[in-house]
């Protein structure tokens, strides 16, 4: 470790710790999950960068939406996302969560993931190769460094809109809102 890096560690321990300890929630949301096992195992070894899968959302801080999101999965994704403690980062993986990809005319998959939960970064491709995952992660590092990976703050700020969009699609959600909604929400934002 060079001196520069040690200096950074001393200055911004929180940021550095968040960067080098990305614990991914292992949620096989779509077909992109097929590239996650190679990424975390012997050939590509993501653990070099501190990325390991964890068992429950409470323990993780990186949420990879791997592939298309069907309506039933969206419900599970929202619940999982809301269970994760702050700060948390979301990465959309593959082209399907970006704009629907090849399922643009499917009646059961959502087209734009960022209208339902905040997304910090995208990795395009179908499938993205393991190298693309690493490039995505290094970009996420840059975003964390510059305080731009603030999806969880956006979620709190615009919770009214996010919850509105979710309920528009899934009907009345059967769990209480994570943050205050309505007028109280606007006060927080102000």
């Amino acid at each position: 470790m060079d001196r520069n890096k040690i200096g950074k560690w001393l200055k911004q321990p929180a940021k550095m710790a968040n960067k080098y300890s990305l614990n991914a929630v292992y949620f096989c949301t779509g077909c992109g999950i097929i590239e996650i096992p190679p990424v975390i195992t012997a050939r590509w070894d993501a653990e070099r960068f501190g990325i390991i899968p964890v068992a429950t959302p409470r323990q993780g801080n990186l949420f990879m939406i791997t592939g298309y999101v069907s309506l039933k999965t969206l419900r599970a994704i929202i619940r999982t996302y809301e269970q994760m403690p702050d700060p948390k980062y979301t990465v959309g993986f593959g082209s399907c969560p970006i704009n629907g990809g090849m399922y643009w005319d499917s009646y059961n998959t959502i087209k734009h993931l960022d209208r339902y939960i905040p997304v910090d970064g995208w990795i395009a491709g179908c499938m993205p190769r393991p190298e693309a995952v690493f490039i995505g992660v290094t970009h996420l590092w840059t975003l964390i460094e510059k305080d731009m990976a603030n999806g969880y703050l956006r979620y709190r700020e615009h919770y009214d809109q996010y919850r509105g969009n979710q309920e528009k699609l899934l009907g009345k959600l059967d769990w209480p809102p994570l943050y205050a909604t309505g007028i109280a929400q606007k006060e927080i934002a102000a």
Binding site: P13, A14, M16, A17, N18, Y20, S21, N23, T41, A42, D45, E47, R48, G50, I52, V54, A55, T56, R58, Q59, N61, M84, P85, D86, P87
Partner: protein
């Protein structure tokens, strides 16, 4: 007096440092056995740091209390187990206190995890308690035979007795309980094939399922401490302790690496298979050892 107080403060810190080093080493060795490079050695420290900066969620007063109880229990045992020549509370109680305090760790986790009211957690806790029941039986027999052989309950005296002659593992009647201890050591440490308690693929890491943020960080520290404690106890009882901290460290390191290698080559057992294993061979050997020791004595 000053020396004792200083040891009381420094030994738990030393325990945490060594425990975290072990966790890092564990991941590194496992990675190498998996044909991959592995994380940096300080990865557990980074993880814990990150968890302290992450918001956690408490599930009530008992949740916090159980965690503190667990941590306090672990810290307290360190003061009773000699680390080379340092053992601040050697005059008070010895092995019996250790036995009592060792129950605190699973109990605290059970209290705390049970408060989270997650079915996975309750299954994990019941598994943890059953496993503890499984290895406590042979462990008690082993400790009894060691104590009766050296006719003392003081662990420092046992270490001295071994340093005067030969390591207990290689002396005749005590070799039997020694072998039994080796057989149950993975269960005491909770490594494979006995990591049923936290089996992430079965019950989503069991008691830890609802922990996040700083609570999980504390759980990691407790885990690190328990690794350190389990191995220290074994080294003191059967590998002759050490007169020199560096020698002691080398000894626990060797035992730990052996345990990691065992961990790497086995899948995990089901809980009833684990208990039936623990109550069969280790218990039989430990019992035989106790009989032989009492006859020889």
């Amino acid at each position: 007096m000053v020396a004792t107080v200083a040891q009381c403060v420094l030994l738990p810190v030393l325990g945490i440092v060594i425990g975290l080093f072990f966790l890092g080493l564990y991941r590194k060795i496992m990675a190498r056995l998996h044909w991959r490079y592995g994380p940096p050695l300080i990865q557990p420290v980074i993880d814990i740091l990150r968890l302290f900066f992450q918001g956690g969620m408490s599930h009530g007063a008992v949740f916090d209390f159980g965690l503190v109880l667990s941590l306090a229990g672990a810290m307290a045992i360190i003061l009773f187990i000699p680390f080379a020549q340092w053992c601040p509370l050697q005059g008070s109680g010895g092995m019996l206190v250790i036995l009592y305090l060792m129950l605190l760790m699973p109990l605290g986790t059970a209290l705390s995890g049970g408060e989270a009211a997650n079915p996975n957690a309750s299954i994990g806790i019941s598994r943890k308690l059953i496993l503890a029941l499984g290895y406590e039986v042979p462990l008690l027999l082993i400790l009894l035979s060691v104590m009766s052989y050296y006719s003392t309950i003081s662990i420092v005296d046992i270490v001295r007795g071994q340093q005067a002659s030969v390591w207990a593992l290689f002396s005749w009647p005590l070799a039997l309980p020694g072998i039994a201890y080796i057989l149950i050591l993975p269960a005491v440490l909770g490594v494979r094939p006995f990591d049923t308690t936290t089996a992430p693929q079965e019950i989503s890491s069991g008691p830890l399922v609802e922990y996040g943020g700083k609570y999980l960080a504390f759980e990691h520290i407790i885990h690190a401490l328990s690794l350190f404690l389990g191995i220290s106890l074994f080294v003191n009882l059967f590998l002759g302790g050490a007169a020199n901290p560096i020698v002691f460290f080398v000894k626990i390191l060797v035992v730990f690496v052996a345990c990691v290698c065992i961990n790497a080559v086995f899948p995990r057992l089901r809980i009833e298979q684990a208990v039936s294993y623990l109550w069969k061979w280790p218990t039989a050997i430990a019992f035989l050892g106790l009989v032989v020791v009492s006859l020889v004595k």
